[in-house]
């Protein structure tokens, strides 16, 4: 408790890096996955069923596997080895983006498909093509999509396997809350592990609480 109360600088930098990595990953994943999910929802193309099944399956991609894939790509001998990204926060962002992207894309696809079913005739009557409908639908599904993005953030901030493999849990460089908790628990420094665990819980609760309130206010007004 005193660690939190005194604002321990090591603790603070770990928390900061955790948030930086996870939030960046969620932002990147959202930028790609929201339009991607909407595109899959609105268009019929060969292999669509396979793509949807694949996305749904990837929602359960084990973090260690994602970590392994990114590790192999970024290691010296890998296809992206020349950039020297392994064991940097950038590598952690890439791994978490890979984890979060399928969740956001798959859930967005479902939400947008339902909304399109409702809006299709009206939007087409107003002269909107499918591409033009994407921003309209994304905005009108904003309440659901906020929850979707949060689910992605939950996954990113809670996982330990991927960041551990590609980041290496290097103190002051790539150590985040989850990897620190794992390390301190195994080393027997339970107070630090507990303090970090507590902060992680509170942060996740705060973000979800804010989003819930926003959603409540909007949905009360918009239904």
């Amino acid at each position: 408790m005193s660690l939190i109360a005194t604002g321990d600088p090591t603790l603070f930098s770990i928390v900061q890096l955790s948030l930086q990595v996870s939030l960046t990953a969620v932002l990147l994943a959202s930028l790609i996955a929201l339009p991607l999910g909407a595109l899959i929802a609105l268009f019929r193309f060969p292999g669509r069923g396979v793509v949807i099944t694949l996305l749904n399956a990837l929602m359960g991609l084990p973090p260690v596997v994602a970590g392994l894939i990114v590790y192999l790509s970024l290691s010296r001998a890998g296809p992206l080895g020349q950039f020297g990204l392994l064991f940097t926060p950038t590598a952690m962002v890439i791994a978490q983006t890979l984890l979060v992207l399928p969740i956001i894309a798959a859930l967005t696809r479902q939400a947008i498909e339902n909304l399109w079913e409702e809006y299709r005739e009206q939007l087409r009557s107003l002269g909107s093509g499918r591409i033009r409908a994407i921003p309209t639908l994304l905005w009108d599904a904003r309440i659901t999509l906020t929850t979707v993005v949060l689910a992605g953030f939950g996954r990113a901030s809670a996982e330990v396997g991927a960041v551990l493999i590609v980041g290496g849990n290097i103190e002051g460089v790539t150590r985040v809350m989850t990897t620190a908790i794992a390390l301190e628990t195994s080393r027997g420094d339970l107070p630090l592990a507990l303090a970090l665990g507590l902060i992680l819980l509170v942060l996740v609760a705060l973000i979800n609480g804010t989003a819930y309130l926003l959603g409540e206010i909007t949905s009360r007004n918009m239904q």
Partner: protein
Amino acid sequence: MSVTTMSPDPVDGALVELNEISFVRSGNAYLDRASLALRPDGRTIIVGPNGSGKSLLMRIAHGLLKPTRGHVTTGRRNGCPLRQAMVFQRPVMLRRSAQANVIHALTLAGTPRRRRREHAERALASFGLSQVADRPARILSGGEQQRLALARAWALRPEILFLDEPSSALDPAATKAVEEGINTFHEHGTKIVLITHDLGQARRLADDVVFMCCGRIIEHTPASRFFSSPVTEAAAGFLRGELILDTDPPVEQPGKQGGPSF
């Protein structure tokens, strides 16, 4: 092969002309060689029993669906595509304010940004909705939402307005408001095409009546003629309130509620 063409010189000045339209899905002919010319003047009311193909015909005329066979010819005015709008049985409102719904429609219609707000405000005022302009559209009452649908159409200045049972879910006061709205369009020169099951409404609004049954257009006559001495026995029976039992394949009318799933 279905063909939708934009004719520079529409036949007989019709806004929309349906020529031998058929609509077939899984072996069932929901529309069978229906031909109809929608001319600029007057209010055309489409009546007929459930499953007669009225909604389908309207969606094809509006361009929401493509016919299996036949031609749809849409007229042009001064080289511009025909401005059309449609009001559905259940208004579909975006999850935004009433005014934002009208602005969205104007955006899609290509109205310059600086004029959208002004046009939207005028349209809302025309239908008595200025008070609720900033309210979320979906918490408005059913009657207000349908008036908002009319205001949204009004903002687009359509030359032809399609309405598919716009007041079937409304109380008498709201129905009256919708009918007044329809007449406002009519007085400003918009061609009205309305589907209704309410024969009282048909009598109040009709200039000419299209009677449909079993996917066919049975007759198309001036309103005075249709209600006093209809040409066909089927229409006479329909007006007397007799049940018309279809013996032909078209049974289900798809897409009445949530839109056709073809």
